[in-house]
Every structure is written in structure tokens, then in C-alpha cells.
């Protein structure tokens, strides 16, 4: 009976309402489901290609070569199983093109026979072999290198044997510090590049035929037990694919949050639609109740209606997403450098469905409670029907679910919560602002005559003061949409500002300077009439103990880890670079604790340590904690004296751990330094000459890196903008619907005003004043809150400074204001043609 009553008959009678509901929900959920489909396709492809990404079944790696006893321990385990193995060393090195004398930083992949076990390296011509120098297509294009050209790497010159078109182990085409070149390992050893302290990664790759996933996990455990140093990693293909997809994962997380706003706006619309609909149906509900149907059955009927609409939304989404994906996947494949499948996997969509359904239902809960609280019998006797009121705590399920969904989508408790709090702030501030505005108008404008300042404004003011929460909903929808646009634009501005080259950033970042080269390099620089700055020692170490307890490597992987937990795991499972410096660098600010004492240490106490604040947070460190480091077999203990904040985008040599001078000064080290901003030609000349004289030292062109980062960020930004635009479209559709409904609710009022003497133009003017004022105010608050959120997110997540881009407030604000006014005009056009005839008794 409920089915027939609430579904078949209702849908037949109110097709327009259900269609509108369907359309609103579809629009709001499309962004999220689209993102999850793309994200799932990328993840699947990376998982599928996991072995190709890793090039083997298992890798044992570290930022240094294994010690002899480690090699023996490793050998003891692996010799028990039939296997093949090769070594790969990845280091950064300067390379000089002999023909053009140009130099640049490259990633040198040094390989042994058998590489790669899985995957393929495709050349432009010929076949890849481990028999000489092969360079990436990027490098060939930058310098116009042909096969046979000479490149000087370290102390040796090599002829280019081939150009690599595609390397399946490179994963996603994203940002890379330097183009890749390939050399046999034996040749790299002759270049003299493999010096202690050189920045690189040493890996032993294994292929174990016939082993299953469980077997590899056992093998991993055995290896980790005999190689306790947390700096040594054992990687299986799955982790490699996760690593490779990390950037995309972060991007889709942010895009999902932007799409969540679109969903939220559509839910605002659904709340509004359903409220109007239920009030319109109230009389019939009361009659049905009077005839014997219990209230809870009426509520079940409403839930059933929504559920059926939701099912149709899911079907429509599937029908839209599948062809939509097939249309864009070639473009996506090209942009990411991945050969994505054309077949759509809807697994992640299915996973999201319960949340989406739950949120939709949760937004109706207050209305359903209102229905439960309605005294149906009394309503039938009233001239004007009204539903029972909902209370603020009726919204708690919705609020909690929204927060949970934000955390789920962002895979981060802090980012999800920050985002949720931002939305809550918009809601609270918008609601408060409307109330404050109504109070101000009631106190200062209402006592004045209707003609103040003119009759249209007088009536508009009274409409604002005496209108109910439906006006708040319109205001809220617009404020949220404006907040989103402003957030994206201002965050973009802050990040762009960070990634512009200014005189504070260096022109060259120099690393891998051996200890015995520092003086000569300095002298060389002075000879070139340039001064090196930020000369900082770097000492490789391993964190052994925290407060006397052995520091354990973090194990255990789970798909339900947050981003924070992933970062924490990475932080805990790698070696650490230490430095010693008395004072803060220009990119550092002490935020807690005391600075290092002026007087030299007397040898009676451990060294003081200065720790980067976020790093300290990840390891749960506090002031006064004792850390013990192992520096090439020598233990050094330190006490945390202060925490620092570091501006990593300064491109200045910065470290997580700074040790008080006087304790590790004599440890084996390399140096970092920077060349300050100056004429471009000076930089190029210096780099070219320095590479010739010091072939093992690496130089990073900061301007080029900033350009690459900016370009990479640009791509990400465009993706976020697409989703933001979709959310904005949802917002505008909802806004149009709400303002149209608001205006039409005035239909009888407008007809009445016409009979009393208002002209159509006057009525339009009154509507424009009322809604225009509110909407422009909503946008003002939205743009301000968006800027505020951008500053907070920029500060907390990216450690950016703050500034405001007025153009990005003014122009989008102006455009949106015009759109809003046009929306009101369109809504009002037919409404002001209301027929006074309809006010009469027989109409």
C-alpha cells in the first residue's frame, strides 16, 4: 500500500518535483563519482604495472651501499631460494654535452646485466642493452643530441648509444628533478661519481620465479629481521605502485573535496525542494493519517521515494560516466604517461554509494522529524497548514556524516577536518550574518517610514527582516559557492607566489660537494667573482634511539591508512641527514624552546638539537627528549632544545635536524651551498666551468625547477578548476532554483502589490534590491571566507606566507554578481506578470 501510495501515485502526480530532485542529486554527485572512477583507473593501472614499475619482484635498497655484514646476512636468506638478481644505483650527476659545452643535472641510472626483469625500455631505434650510455628522449630534445654524440659524466666521456623513448619503470609522467640517463654500473664506478655521501640510492633487485604474494611477504619479514637498520627498505611491487601514484592520489583527494562542495550545494537544494514539497503535501498526509495510516509509515513512504530517486541517479550516472570516461581516457593517458584501460571499473563508485545515500537521507532527517512532530489532526482544522519545526540537533547525523566523508575523501584526518570546519564556518558565519543584518535593519531601518529611502527599498527591507530560513538557504548556497571559488583562486595565488623566482631565492642549488673540495670550490667561485652562500655540512646518520629506547622501523601496511600515517611511516623508515649550525638559516624561524647557548660546549653534556616542527610531530617528539644517532658506527646523543619552522620553498639548504656545533663537526660529510641571484650568464658560465673542474658536484637550476613545479602545479590546478567549475554550476543551478522559488512564493504578494499600485518595473526593482543586496553580501562573505581558508590551509599544509590578490576577488566577484542579478531578473520576469485576477475568490 505504501509502495502504491507513495511511489506510483506520487510520481505520477508530481513528475516535475521528482525530476528536479533527480537532476539536483545527479548534478551534485557526478563530480565525485567521476573523480573516483578516474582515480580507480589510475590506481588499477599502476597496480597492474606494479612489477614493471619496480622492474623486479623484490628490491632491497638504501641511500648507501650495504655494509659487508649486511651483504652476508642478505645472501644467507636469498640463497635459500632460486633467484636472479642485479644491482641498480641511482645517483644525480652533472653531465656535459661536449659538442655544445652545456651542462645540466641528470639522474644516472646505473644498471647491471639482466635489467629490467619486468617491463621494457623502448628506444627510438634499436634495442636497449647494458652496454653503454643511453639517454632519455627529454635530454636528447633539450640539447638536440644525436646517437654518437659525446657526453662527459664525471671523469669519463661516453658516446650516446641510443635514445630511450619509453621506460615502463618511470611510472606517472609528473614532475622529475632531472632527465634520466642509463649506464652500466661498471662504467659508473669508473666515472668517480660514487663517492661517500653522494646523493643516491643503492638497490638490489630480485626475481624469484614461482613465488606467490604470501611467500614474498614471508621473505620480506625474514630480510627485515636480518637487516635491522631502518634506513634499509624492502619493497614489493604494490608499494612501488603506491609510491608512483602518490601525487595523483593527493590531487584526487583535493579534487574530491572540491566536488564535495558541489554535493553539499545540491543537498541544500534537495532540502529546500523537499521542504516545499512536504508542506504542499501536508494536507493529504494529514488526511491519510486521519484515515488510519500511521505517521511512521508516511515517513517510510518519503524515504522510499528518495531511495527510488537515488537508484535512478546511480543508473544515470553509470550511463553518463562510462561513455564520458571512454571519451576522455586517451587524453588522460597522454597527460599521465600511462596506458589506461578503456574499460571502466566502477568499484570505487560502489564504495562511495553508501556515503552518498546516507548523506542524502541525513539531510532529510530534520524534515522527517518535523513531519513526526506535526499534529496532523489539528492541521486539518487550520486555515494555513504548517509542518512541525525541526531542531538544530536533528542535523547532527548529517553533520557527522559530512565530516566523516570529508576525512574519507581526503584520506587525511587533519585536511578533512580542516575542510569540514571551513564549511561549518561558512554556514555559521552566513547564518549569523543574516541574523545580524536582520537585527540591524529591524533596529535602524524598520522604525523609519516605508518610503525610506524609497518605497521599493522600504518593502525590500521588510521582506529581508521578516523572511524565514528559506532566504538563509539561498544566502548559504551562494556563500558556499563563492567560498569555493575564492579558496581555489587565492590558494593558487599563494602557491604561485611561492613558486616565483625572486631575489630571495638562489639561482643555483649545489650539492655533493666533497669535504676536500669545499675550499677549492669557494676559491673557484671567488675567481669567478661570485660568492657562495648557505655553505652547510650534511652528515648521513641513522636515528637509533629515542629516550633510550630503540627506534623501531614501522611496518604493516593497510589500505585504510591516512596520508599523515603514510608520511609518518616514510619518515620513520629512512635515514636522516644531519647538519651542525649555530644560528638559524634565513628560511628558519624558531617556534618553541631556546636557541643554542653562546658558550662552546664543555663536553660534559650531550649535544643540543634543533628539530623541524612537523618532523618532530610525526615522531611524537617533545622538548627535552633524547635522541641517539648512529653516524657510521659512532653513537651521538642529543637533547631537543628547540623546534623550528622551515620554509622549504626557499630552496635554501635546510634540515630536519640541526646539531649544536662542536659534536659532529669531524664526522664524514658532504657540503651544500647556493649561488645567489645574479645575471643569468654568470650562472651559466659558473656552472659550466665548475662542472669541468668538479665533475662529481651537482648543480640544480632553481629557476628551471620552479618553472617545472609551476608547470606541474598548473596541470593540477586545471584539474581542480574543472571540478570547481562543476561545483559552481551546481551552485548556480541551486541558486537559480532557490531564487526562482523565492520570487514565485511572492506570486500572490506581487499580484496584490499590482492591485495596490506598483508597476511591473517597480516590482522588479524591489526584487532586485532585495535579492541583489543579499546575494552580493553572500558573495562578499564567501570571498572573504575563501581567502581566509586559503591562508589557513596554505599556512598549515603548505607553510606558505599570506597575501591577498584583490583582482581575484574583484573580477570573479563582479562576474558572479552579474550572474546573480541576471538570475533574479529571469526569475522575476514572469513573476511580475502575476495576474491580480488570481487573488479573487473563484480563482
Amino acid at each position: 500500500m505504501i509502495f502504491e501510495l507513495f511511489l506510483i501515485k506520487e510520481i505520477k502526480k508530481f513528475p516535475f518535483f521528482f525530476l528536479l530532485l533527480l537532476f539536483t542529486l545527479l548534478l551534485g554527485t557526478l563530480g565525485l563519482t567521476g573523480i573516483s572512477v578516474v582515480s580507480e583507473q589510475v590506481k588499477s593501472k599502476l597496480e597492474e604495472s606494479a612489477r614493471e614499475l619496480l622492474t623486479s619482484d623484490l628490491v632491497v635498497s638504501a641511500r648507501r651501499d650495504l655494509l659487508d655484514d649486511e651483504k652476508i646476512a642478505l645472501e644467507k636468506i636469498v640463497r635459500k631460494v632460486p633467484h636472479q638478481t642485479y644491482k641498480v644505483v641511482d645517483i644525480y650527476s652533472m653531465v656535459r654535452h661536449e659538442k655544445s659545452s652545456q651542462t645540466r643535472l641528470t639522474e644516472v641510472r646505473s644498471v647491471e646485466e639482466g635489467f629490467p626483469f619486468y617491463g621494457k625500455i623502448t628506444l627510438t631505434k634499436g634495442e636497449f642493452k647494458v652496454d653503454g650510455l643511453y639517454i632519455s628522449k627529454d635530454l636528447a630534445e633539450i640539447w638536440g643530441i644525436a646517437i654518437g654524440d659525446d657526453l662527459k659524466i664525471g671523469e669519463k666521456v661516453f658516446a650516446v648509444k641510443g635514445i630511450v623513448q619509453n621506460d615502463s619503470s618511470q611510472g606517472l609522467r609528473g614532475f622529475s628533478l632531472a632527465p634520466r640517463i642509463y649506464l652500466p654500473l661498471r662504467d659508473v664506478e669508473e666515472t668517480g661519481l660514487l663517492r661517500p655521501g653522494s646523493t643516491g640510492s643503492y638497490a638490489r633487485h630480485f626475481r624469484v620465479p614461482g613465488y606467490l604474494e604470501k611467500d614474498f611477504e614471508n621473505l620480506t619479514t625474514q630480510l627485515l629481521n636480518v637487516l635491522p637498520d631502518s634506513a634499509i627498505k624492502v619493497t614489493l611491487p604494490q608499494e612501488s605502485s603506491e609510491q608512483s601514484g602518490r601525487v595523483i592520489a593527493y590531487l584526487t583527494d583535493f579534487m574530491s573535496l572540491a566536488a564535495l562542495i558541489g554535493l553539499l550545494l545540491s543537498l541544500v537544494g534537495i532540502f529546500y525542494l523537499y521542504q516545499s514539497h512536504l508542506v504542499a503535501r501536508l494536507k493529504d498526509f494529514c488526511l491519510i493519517n486521519l484515515l488510519g495510516l500511521e505517521k511512521r509509515h508516511i515517513i517510510y513512504g518519503v524515504i522510499l521515494q528518495f531511495s527510488i530517486v537515488f537508484i535512478f541517479v546511480v543508473i544515470l550516472q553509470t550511463l553518463l560516466i562510462i561513455p564520458g570516461y571512454k571519451l576522455i581516457y586517451p587524453m588522460l593517458s597522454n597527460a599521465l604517461g600511462l596506458d589506461l584501460s578503456s574499460e571502466v571499473n566502477l568499484k570505487s563508485v560502489l564504495f562511495q554509494l553508501p556515503f552518498l545515500y546516507g548523506l542524502g537521507l541525513a539531510i532529510l532527517v530534520p524534515l522527517l522529524f518535523g513531519l513526526m512532530r506535526t499534529s496532523m489532526g489539528i492541521q486539518l482544522k487550520s486555515a494555513k497548514m504548517s509542518m512541525g519545526h525541526f531542531r538544530f540537533y536533528d542535523f547532527i547525523p548529517f553533520v557527522l556524516l559530512l565530516w566523516g566523508f570529508a576525512v574519507f575523501l581526503s584520506h587525511s584526518f587533519s585536511i578533512g577536518s580542516l575542510f569540514f570546519l571551513g564549511l561549518l564556518l561558512v554556514f555559521v558565519l552566513s547564518t549569523c550574518l543574516i541574523k545580524i543584518l536582520q537585527w540591524i535593519l529591524r533596529k535602524y531601518a524598520l522604525p523609519r517610514s516605508l518610503l525610506f529611502p524609497n518605497i521599493e527599498t522600504g518593502v525590500a527591507i521588510r521582506n529581508i527582516v521578516h523572511s524565514g530560513h528559506k532566504l538563509t538557504l539561498s544566502f548559504l548556497a551562494l556563500a558556499m559557492g563563492a567560498t569555493l571559488i575564492s579558496l581555489i583562486l587565492q590558494l593558487d595565488h599563494l602557491i604561485q607566489k611561492e613558486f616565483t623566482l625572486d631575489e630571495r631565492k638562489p639561482s643555483l642549488f649545489i650539492f655533493d660537494i666533497q669535504e676536500d673540495q669545499m675550499d677549492s670550490l669557494d676559491e673557484f667561485a671567488r675567481g669567478q667573482k661570485v660568492k657562495l652562500e648557505g655553505v652547510t655540512p650534511m652528515i648521513r646518520a641513522r636515528l637509533e634511539k629515542v629516550n633510550g629506547e630503540l627506534f623501531k622501523r614501522v611496518e604493516g601496511k593497510s589500505n585504510l591508512r591516512t596520508r599523515e600515517e603514510e608520511v609518518e611511516t616514510r619518515m620513520k623508515n629512512r635515514g636522516i641527514n644531519l647538519t651542525y649550525r649555530k644560528d638559524l638559516s634565513p628560511a628558519e624561524t624558531m617556534v618553541e624552546g631556546e636557541p643554542f647557548p653562546d658558550e662552546a660546549p664543555d663536553g660534559k653534556r650531550p649535544a643540543y638539537l634543533s628539530i623541524e616542527k612537523r618532523y618532530a610531530g610525526r615522531l611524537n617528539l617533545k622538548l627535552g627528549d633524547r635522541l641517539t644517532f648512529d653516524i657510521q658506527g659512532v653513537e651521538v646523543e642529543g637533547i631537543i632544545r628547540n623546534f623550528r619552522e622551515v620554509k622549504w620553498t626557499s630552496f635554501y639548504p635546510n634540515f630536519f635536524v640541526n646539531v649544536e656545533p662542536g659534536f659532529i663537526d669531524d664526522a664524514p660529510k658532504t657540503y651544500l651551498a647556493v649561488l645567489p641571484q645574479g645575471p643569468k650568464e654568470t650562472k651559466r658560465y659558473f656552472q659550466r666551468e665548475a662542472v669541468g673542474k668538479f665533475p662529481n658536484i651537482s648543480f640544480v637550476d632553481v629557476e628551471e625547477i620552479i618553472g617545472k613545479l609551476a608547470a606541474s602545479f598548473d596541470k593540477s590546478r586545471r584539474a581542480i578548476e574543472v571540478i570547481s567549475a562543476l561545483s559552481l554550476i551546481v551552485g548556480l543551478v541551486i541558486l537559480y532554483g532557490l531564487s526562482h522559488d523565492q520570487v514565485y512564493r511572492r506570486y500572490y504578494d506581487l499580484a496584490l502589490m499590482k492591485t495596490l499600485g506598483f508597476s511591473s518595473g517597480s516590482l522588479r526593482k524591489q526584487l532586485l534590491i532585495e535579492f541583489g543586496f543579499l546575494f552580493v553580501l553572500a558573495m562578499g562573505i564567501g570571498f572573504f571566507l575563501g581567502w581566509l581558508m586559503a591562508v589557513i590551509i596554505g599556512r598549515e599544509v603548505f607553510k606558505l606566507g599570506w597575501s591577498i590578490n584583490w583582482e581575484m576577488i574583484f573580477y570573479p566577484g563582479l562576474l558572479l554578481s552579474i550572474l546573480c542579478l541576471v538570475t533574479i531578473l529571469i526569475s522575476s520576469w514572469s513573476a511580475v506578470r502575476a495576474k491580480p485576477r488570481e487573488l479573487l475568490s473563484d480563482a
Binding site: A383, S449, L450, L451, I455, G458, V459, R462, N463, V465, H466, S467, Y748, D749, L752, M753, K754, T755, L756, G757, F758, S759, S760, K835, P836, R837, L839, L840, S841, D842, A843
Partner: protein
Amino acid sequence: MMNVINVKKSYGHGPSKVEVLKGINLKIAPGETLALVGKSGSGKSTLLSLMAGLDQMEQGEVWIQGKCLNQLSENELTLFRAKNMGIVFQQFHLVSTLTALENVILPLNLLKDPNAKVIANKLIDHVGLSHRSHHLPSELSGGECQRVAIARALSTSPKILFADEPSGNLDEETGAKVMDLLFKMVRETGTTMVLVTHDPDLAKKCSRIIHLEHGSLV
């Protein structure tokens, strides 16, 4: 005062076309109170709407104070109606966001009457609602709303007042009180009134009764 000449009106098209008024001719003298009576669907409200310029006739003319309503543009008609007519509706139709006093002031403000507030206060007092003048319509009872509506309709001292079943939404006792007030005020001001009603007792209070049946005067 008012001259209705061969007014015809129908709704719908083709086979579903309904001729509501079939050529009405009527003259109303100044100060006269005219009751339009007839069964539901007889065309009384339609005739009233045409006389008040709320709707357009297919054929015929309506003259008020020497002005033919058919010849006025929409804006001219709006202004003319504001200056010369008052309307009381069955459903009261007060502006929901204006107080009782503001509802009465509104037509005076539209005509830029400098004494708007004074006149409105007087009228509110006259209808016995001084103590409720700052309440919104949602806070007033049906009878109170209709009294405000009467005060509003008479605020501009209209030449003619149209009342469309003004007690139709009220209970018997309240309706009687409201109608007594209406007739009293109309008498005091000498306003011409056209009253649509299906209540024969109410109709008898008017100086003339006209019956409508199937769109024609009987």
C-alpha cells in the same frame, strides 16, 4: 460613477470554451452600494474583476469617472486603480512582511500622500486595531486581518470599493462584525461599493441587488 457596457468574457478555447459573461450592461450611481449575487460559477467574481480592471474583457467597455479602462495602458490602469479604487478580498491578502499599520500605509505611500501615517493611524484606530498595529499578518486572527484589509482599501479615499466575498473566510459571528464595520465605513465616507456575495442577508444591506445567472443579469 460607473458604466458597464456590453461586457463579455469567456475562458478556454475551441470546444472547451466557456462563456462566463454574455453581455453585461450596468450603471452604478455615486454612493450606491450594489450587491452582485448568484450561485457559484455564475460569473460574479469575473464581472467584479473586469470592473476593477483586474482582468481584460473580450468585448465591451467599463467606464469609471469618465475614464474607459479598456483605453488605459497597464501602468495607467495601475495608477488609476490606486487612486480611485479599493479592493477587499475574501482571503484578506495582506502583505505578509508588513505590519498591520504598514499594510494600511502602503497605498498612501504609493500615491506619495504626505499625511500617510496620520491617515493610516486613524483608520487602524477606526477599525479597533490600534493595539495590534505593529503586528504582522501572521500574528493576527482572520477577523483582524480582514479589518486591516478594509482599512487599507479605504485609506486612499477611493471613489469605488470592490469587495469580493469579504466574509467568506470568516466564521459567522466574526463575519457579521466585519461586514457591519465595512458598511459603516462605506456609509460614513459615501464610497460607492460593489459587493460580491452569495449571502442573501448581506445582499439586502445594499441599496441595490443584481442577480447573475449563467453570465447574464437577471
